[in-house]
Symmetry: C2
Amino acid sequence: MIKVGGKVVEEESSLNALLNDFTKLEGCKVLVHGGGRSATKIASQLGIESQMVNGRRITDVETLKVVTMVYGGLVNKTIVAGLQARGVNALGLTGADMDLIRSVKRPVKDIDYGYVGDVEKVDAVSLTELLRSEVVPVMAPLTHDGNGNMLNTNADTIAGEVAKALSSVFDVTLIYCFEKKGVLRDENDDDSVISSINRDEFKQYVSEGVIQGGMIPKLENAFGAIDAGVSQVVITLASAINESDGTRIKK
Amino acid sequence: MIKVGGKVVEEESSLNALLNDFTKLEGCKVLVHGGGRSATKIASQLGIESQMVNGRRITDVETLKVVTMVYGGLVNKTIVAGLQARGVNALGLTGADMDLIRSVKRPVKDIDYGYVGDVEKVDAVSLTELLRSEVVPVMAPLTHDGNGNMLNTNADTIAGEVAKALSSVFDVTLIYCFEKKGVLRDENDDDSVISSINRDEFKQYVSEGVIQGGMIPKLENAFGAIDAGVSQVVITLASAINESDGTRIKK
């Protein structure tokens, strides 16, 4: 299970490099992608301002249309066509397709995130059937509520939840790709990669301010996945998915 | 096999009515949709002018992005989520997904249509497996060339080609939905439906100017499907897919 962020999949050269590396991976595989930069760009061209809170997009009804177009259409199908050209039998999916990922619209507390979904249920049976048929799911960060609404859903969360669901059937390695070599001890030193981290060390790093911002929810997802039976979770460069670098998450 | 045009799927009330009717259809079923009006609207909002020749969209690289977003993302996923809410196990697809429909970029003769695909090959085996698993394909009017490029492809053509491919396995009825009750003898009289038409009558009507414009390629697709083994082809109102009205195409 490989999760790649928007930056990697939105630039032609890095996308091509990723698709080449992904093609080389053996065994059943799933690609989960982002697309936030393209969504922000298209939204802006359509006169829709992108509002972010804690790195999450406030998704009103017009923004939902944009992310459905960009994630489910443009980014997803560009990846699918690129993989098919490399002989990988890719199938683009959102959580609505085959009812694979059902979510609930995030309840409004301090902030109304709008049409944002918190994952409730992953259909591991259907995903397993696809994987057994040698289909390679390419998942957009979109789910649905079962009442006809698409919901914008964080790609890290989708990768984590799908990895958890599949871990009852498969020996799952979850790789979060990232623009750095891994979790860094010093954000100004790209080589200060923390090669492995457990939950106690994570808490310690957070309290010391070594780990902060968007890395905190990413690592929370990673620990959640390990606790739920995912065999390995790695945070690394997109260009290193076939290597043993990066940060390994331990129980 | 039901093909519905953009107008039906782009308005909430007609879309809901269609999805209710489609849900009631028994047996294996496939929905092919358009989305041209939304594509034109979004393109215009993005400052891209839509150029049409003989009812076909000239698809430059920017327009290809728009149709990939709108057909493959917005329209397709809205339908999929709507069908899932009705208990139909919909799966949104383009021709790139699972390599279902391979096309060739239309050769430039008098007109350069750009990234427009002429269908070369439909994978009836994979489609049949999906249908046997009770999955309901929802197909966007997009294919791919096998070299990493998506191609804009006429929805009537996709419906016809998929119907033909499936006719070796299934007893296929192909229904082209339309904003009129069927092929009309008098375009100003909505009740002047031609209840059945064969190829000789078609030629006669064309020579008399009774049938003209976009109805000609639609009927050509219809006759092609009947000749290739599709059991029934009907041109009717979207609201009549469960009824026996409309125009039936005979050999």
